[in-house]
């Protein structure tokens, strides 16, 4: 669990689509737990997260969602971009 609640920045389109806000404060031990807690506030978010979401931990994209968040200040939730 993080020492103080994480600052969660919700980027479009997820802010309007699920949460109605752009900022949240949440306690979570790792990113899987964070997704679970975000789903509680924005039902359906967890279902689309693997397919549509990238998470940036303190400014760096993180695809390992077992990543511990003890010393983390901010997680940005942003759209996952495909390539060709």
């Amino acid at each position: 669990m993080s020492a103080s609640p994480l600052r969660i920045v919700i980027m479009p389109p997820f802010d309007k689509e699920f949460f109605g806000v752009e900022r949240l404060s949440i306690d979570a031990g790792n990113l899987f737990e964070l997704i679970e807690k975000l789903d509680a506030q924005g039902p359906g978010f967890a279902k689309i997260a693997r397919a549509r979401v990238h998470l940036a931990v303190d400014g760096v994209l993180e695809t390992d969602w077992t990543r511990l968040l003890a010393d983390v200040r901010e997680v940005i939730v942003l759209p996952r971009v495909g390539g060709g």
Partner: protein
């Protein structure tokens, strides 16, 4: 110019060895999707909708079924009813219900060419004859193709209601994304110079030479095999299993050679249908597309309407940027808007930004990824506007770009900081290039443009095994589109310190290697390369360990040097064993030597490019010729230099086609009028000059060999580079693509 801090020397990295798949491909032996045949195979045919939008009232297949030689007929009713599930196994997220309904229409057809029914018969002629005998009763609905038309209050709704917006008035907006920061309006009102403009284009196709084709064989025991070419056979397995609601392990997908994809082969169109026909007939079934099918029913890159406003101080400091765009989504929700927002203005340091994009559903085939999907369209608008702004400010357009260029640590549009990007180094390399100061001839003009693409990493699996004679086989799950077999062999040979020819690379089927994401997103040399290096390092460690045990010395006393295990101390000091000697006796030292690396690669970095284009405009006809072209790109580090240059040249060629010639043309009935290469004008060799490439190497510190993706970046800048060159030659700002002779002629002779 920025010289590197230290020069690293390599045995193989950066060399240009002969491609391992070359002989098969130039002699015609290589097995592509259309070449594969299975014993007892039936031939399939698909009946496609003649209407762009219609409700299916009934389908009568009896006449087709009665035709001698017909073994199976399928419609959308043969596919299982699925619950909505958004998956990301190709390029971008797709709802599996959409994937299913795109393979075979269920209750409505959403574009001309939408598959309605399929037949399997003993000959291709019979299959086609039977397909025509299928009688479909349609209720034709109003259709809509244009972006603004699809957004009108009275526009026909493609989906009822439009998905994900049930709390709002139903519309054809499938996705909207907005990012930015600061106060754009205030900054623009205080700017010394402001430019604004609207830029437009119709969809274009990826234009791969090989049409889609597959063979499927689904046995009575539930197990199935599929042979096809794609950008990812694990993607084919995952989507086909999901559409059919069967376990993935019951499908084994064998990848065949691929004749181009460019993002367009990152989904399934035929495979689930061939599976249904195979199950019904009890025989393997082949399905293939004609060129017309490819144009009518597979994903183009979206057309666009893009509005741009840029503002700068008198010294050229960019103070505000607003980009608002609409992209064609086609019949189902596509993903390009997100990438378009991310790729519009992040190459400049601007305090006040707002980038907003929407995906608009319409009665066209569903848009699919095309090389840096979503980026070339917005880049065309932004880099044209930058050119216009430079003229307005009286500044050199390169100096304006250099003054505002984003550097490591600057914020992207998403708010994340850039990592070790090489954008400034590209600009400096371009400034020093002789092309920029070369004289121009009559009716010629020079344009420049820069752009970027984010690239990707993700899951890859590699198995590296040692044969008894000490040669090595690298098995990957990544289809070889841009030379990955050679690149993997180079990286493994580099780690193992052996000749390149001592390492061979194969693309293994889904039952023979672990999960690997599609070859797309410019990820394979980065991510699969990372796994290859990891596996090679482990094999090297195992070889040293076996030698140590053979010599009865501690493992730390053995090192790998020049392709041999070498004892570095004690009684065996100086003893050497080759990979062949170690592997040849591996049966007596613990068994075969092999290592698997399965990882989800992180730490990918974007690529940046800067292009210089000279054109000559025929004042009488409006025809634009490309007379010289130079592409500068940060490639991280080139593993196989020929392939890197080839990727850059290929991307430029496609970008030039997009700029000058390519476009979908629909008639008033919503039917495509140019579904072939005679009328859909892609550039050919005689249209092109030699495309010069400059590889700038700013290595990615996370990758063992500094790799950054290179395949997508080069299609981003050409649209604006060509347009800016046309402006320089004629004084006319072309804001609508393609800049075909009729449009250029009209611009040149507007007064008449």
């Amino acid at each position: 110019m920025n010289a590197p801090d230290k020069i690293e020397t390599f045995r193989h990295i950066g060399t240009r060895p002969v491609r391992p798949d070359g002989v098969d491909k130039v002699t015609g032996k290589a097995l592509y999707g259309t070449d594969f045949k299975a014993p007892g195979m039936l031939w399939g045919a698909i009946l496609r909708s003649p209407h762009p939008h219609a409700r299916i009232l009934s389908i009568d297949t009896r006449a087709a079924e009665k035709l001698a030689g017909v073994k199976a007929v399928a419609t959308g009713r043969d596919l299982p009813t699925l619950e909505s599930l958004v998956m990301h196994v190709g390029e971008g997220a797709s709802d599996i219900v959409d994937v299913s309904h795109n393979c075979l229409a269920f209750d409505k057809v959403l574009y001309e060419g939408h598959p309605v029914a399929a037949v399997a018969a003993t000959t291709p002629e019979l299959a086609r004859e039977a397909a025509v005998l299928i009688s479909v009763e349609y209720e034709v609905l109003p259709h809509v193709l244009g972006l603004d038309e699809a957004l009108a209050d009275d526009a026909p709704l493609i989906r009822e209601p439009a998905r994900g917006r049930s709390d709002e008035k139903p519309s054809n907006i499938a996705m909207d994304v907005t990012m930015g920061r600061g106060d754009v309006e205030a900054a623009l009102s205080g700017a010394a110079a402001v430019v604004e403009g609207r830029y437009t284009m119709e969809p274009v196709h990826q234009g791969y030479i090989e049409p889609h084709a597959c063979v499927a064989s689904w046995n009575g025991d539930g197990q199935a095999q599929i042979w096809c070419s794609s950008q990812g056979h694990f993607m084919v397995r995952s989507l086909t299993a999901s559409v059919l609601a069967i376990p993935q392990s019951d499908i084994r997908v064998t990848p065949l050679e691929i004749g181009g994809g460019f993002g367009g082969k990152t989904t399934v169109y035929l495979e689930p249908v061939a599976m249904i026909l195979s199950r019904k007939s009890g025989r393997p079934v082949r399905l293939g597309m004609s060129r017309e099918d490819v144009f009518r029913a597979t994903g183009p890159a979206p057309g666009a309407i893009i509005d741009v406003r840029l503002g700068a101080d008198a010294d050229g400091t960019l103070v505000a940027a607003e980009v608002t765009f609409k992209y064609h989504s086609g019949a189902f929700a596509a993903n390009d808007a997100g990438a378009g927002v991310s790729s519009a203005i992040g190459h400049y340091r601007i305090a006040n930004t707002r980038v907003s994009g929407i995906e608009v559903l319409c009665n066209r085939p569903a848009a699919k990824a095309y090389r840096a999907p979503g980026a070339p369209q917005v880049n065309f608008a932004v880099e044209s506007a930058i050119d216009e702004l430079a003229i307005k400010l009286g500044m050199d357009p390169l100096e304006l770009r250099m003054k505002n260029a984003a550097m490591p640590g600057d914020l992207q549009t998403s708010g994340l900081p850039w990592g070790e990007i090489g954008w400034v180094q590209c600009l400096e390399a371009a400034k020093a290039h002789p092309h920029l100061s070369a004289p121009l001839g009559p009716n010629q003009g020079r344009g420049i443009a820069g752009g970027y693409w984010g690239n990707y990493g993700g899951p890859s699996t590699v198995n590296l095994s040692v044969a008894e004679d000490g040669t090595f086989t690298v098995a990957t799950g990544s289809p070889d589109i841009g030379g990955s077999r050679a690149s993997m062999a180079i990286m493994a040979a580099e780690v193992l310190e052996v000749p390149y020819e001592q390492v061979r690379c194969v693309v293994a089927d889904t039952a023979s290697i672990g999960l690997s994401f599609v070859t797309g997103g410019s990820r394979t040399t980065f991510a699969t390369g990372m796994a290859t290096v990891e596996a090679a390092r482990e094999v090297k460690r195992l070889l040293c360990e076996r030698a140590a045990r053979t010599w009865q010395v501690p493992a730390e006393d053995v090192e790998w040097r020049e392709g041999n295990a070498v004892c570095t101390s004690g009684e065996k000091l100086g003893s050497k064993m080759s990979a062949g000697e170690i592997a040849g006796s591996s049966i007596h030292s613990g068994g075969p030597i092999t290592a698997t690396s399965a990882l989800s690669a992180q730490g990918w970095l974007p690529g940046f490019g800067f292009h210089i284009c000279d054109v000559e405009v025929d004042q009488e006809t409006g025809h634009v010729s490309i007379v010289r072209y130079t592409a500068v790109q940060d490639v991280g580090r080139a593993i196989h230099a020929d392939y890197v240059e080839g990727q850059i040249q290929g991307g430029v060629a496609q970008g030039i086609g997009w700029a000058l010639n390519e476009t979908y043309i629909y008639n008033g009935e919503g039917k495509l009028e140019n579904p072939g290469f005679l009328d859909y004008r892609m550039p050919v060799t005689s249209d092109m000059p030699m495309i010069d490439t400059v590889m700038v190497e700013v290595p990615n510190p996370v990758h063992p060999y500094g790799v950054k993706g290179v395949g997508e970046v080069p299609i981003v800048p050409p649209l604006a580079a060509v347009a800016n060159a046309v402006h320089a030659a004629t004084g006319k700002r072309m804001r609508s693509l393609p800049m075909s002779p009729d449009k250029v002629h009209a611009a040149l002779h507007a007064e008449s």
